[in-house]
Amino acid sequence: MVKITIDGREFEAEDNAKILDVAKSHNIYIPTLCAHESVSPAGTCRLCLVETTNKEGRNRVVPSCLTAVEEGLVVSTNSEKVVSERKTAMQKLLARAPESPALKTLAEKLGVNGTPLPAEEHHNCVLCGLCTRVCQEVVGVNAISKINRSTEPGAVPFTVNIDDCIACGSCAYVCPTNAITMTEVGDTRTITWPYQKQEFKLAKCKVCGRYWLPEKQIGYMAGKSGQPKEFFDTCMDCRK
């Protein structure tokens, strides 16, 4: 255990715990966009910046999701430096996705009014990479990956490998800015990513005739669970 100070309050924290997690467990608010408790931190959104001073007196502004606690660390979550750096980070995100309602709400909460930077794109994606981490670490299919991150015009920053995608919708669920959406109409599930769109066929229950599961998931789930494929012929409610 180590002792750290956050905003003037002293806490005991586990060795190697991240500052963000310690603050969260003591109800200290640090804004985040790309952090999620189920996946590894990436530090892409830069909103969770905090100012730290260690025992030797070294002063830094670091992303709290990636930085581990150490003995005697003094952390400030809303010093002048942090607020100004966070504002810059927010303005950059706003330039990336100026029309995102979720981002606008967060900006308002942080007291950032608009951005002086020119708008880069006109969709809601801020390239936080949460979907790619979820697809890899939680679902385990690795269908979404970041590629070609560059300032070149027309460079697509990430792609979805439709062959690998099982249409589970986890990326749509986790997306903090609603850049990925999922809709279901009749026998089709449509997932829309910022640069791609794909329709998936749904399987029909043999008893009640409702569409209940994407066909692509059947093979994947059968393989994972060891159940025969016929098990997925009937929906959960009709199964005896």
Binding site: G169, C208, M236
Partner: protein, 308 residues
């Protein structure tokens, strides 16, 4: 509504406001519903909880399941206590005694505490426009005291105070439409939810907390003990209630009705009734009568959704 399935479930919040180890019956749909609600609420919340199953099972001295500030209130004054807490927080922030941390106030009660005993306090709180969320966990009778009928008990259900027999079909009145009563107060947000559709439910609780002003969420919580159903069927019964049209999932946002899950074509009511012992005695005639009512109520709701 999106059907997220098994993978997105792993991404749901790991915060547990209602800790395990409580004394709810096996297969309790209400404990599940409260747990999901707590996940959606997060930690910055104060809960006023009416007497009822959830209070009994979660707070037997000297233990407690609650990881958030929690007040046990009487049946009749849950909404009043919650409005007091909300006003207190507001007033303290105004006078500078304690800065506002955006703490949300939630009142929760069972169907008895909502539609029978606590109705006037609830109506008052909704009318005064307090910024609180009221959640009704409806298990369709006073289950905690031994399955007595409430005004939320559906037609034909056998309870200890409306027993079925030669002279009686069980409950002789239709279920009180509580969400409609709440919606009639013209509050910003009213919704019905079911723990069998967890993502939909968590979304509605979050929405209810976010809106300014009173919000009301009515949750159907399956009770295997009182409904005389198998304990492993609770989640399925919740889904069947939606798919048969008995308990459609909809929300009313600023007067606008929206059906969240369109179950049409409706499943036959028998699918839902046959799994429950409390409806076991019903004759085909009564079932037909209930089925007609369910369809007509559902059509009415659909019309409301189409109109707004």
């Amino acid at each position: 509504m999106e059907n997220y399935g098994v993978y997105a479930a792993r991404l749901a919040s790991k915060v547990d406001g209602l800790a395990p180890g409580h004394r709810a019956c096996i297969g309790c749909g209400e404990a599940l519903a409260v747990r999901l609600a707590c996940k959606a609420m997060g930690e910055n919340v104060i809960i006023a909880n009416a007497t009822g199953c959830m209070e009994i099972i979660s707070s037997q001295l000297p233990t407690t399941s609650w990881d958030v500030p929690w007040i046990h209130t009487l049946f009749e004054n849950t909404a009043a206590v919650a409005s007091g807490v909300e006003s207190g927080l507001k007033s303290m922030a105004k006078k500078g005694i304690k800065p506002s941390k955006g703490t949300k106030v939630v009142a929760m009660a069972g169907d008895g505490g909502t539609s029978d005993i606590g109705l006037q306090a609830l109506s008052g709180a909704l009318e005064r426009g307090h910024d609180l969320l009221y959640i009704c966990f409806d298990n369709e009778a006073y289950m905690n005291t031994g399955i007595q009928r409430s005004s939320s008990t559906p037609m034909g259900a056998s309870t200890t105070t409306s027993p079925a027999g030669k002279q009686s079909i069980g409950q002789k009145t239709w279920k009180k439409n509580m969400p409609a009563i709440a919606a009639a107060h013209d509050i910003p947000y009213v919704a019905t939810a079911s723990p069998s559709y967890p993502f939909d439910m968590m979304k509605k609780i979050k929405k209810g907390l976010e809106v300014e002003g009173p919000a009301y969420v009515h949750v159907l919580s399956v009770c295997p003990t009182g409904w005389r159903s198998a304990t492993d069927l609770s989640v399925r019964l919740g889904r069947l209630a939606v798919q048969t049209g008995v308990f459609p999932l909809y929300e009313v946002e600023n007067g606008k009705y929206k059906l969240n899950i369109d179950p049409s074509p409706l499943r036959p009511l028998q699918d839902y009734l046959k799994l429950q012992g409390r409806f076991r005695h019903l004759s085909e005639g009564t079932i037909k009568q209930i089925q007609e009512r369910v369809v007509s109520e559902y059509e009415k709701l659909k019309q409301k959704c189409a109109c707004s």
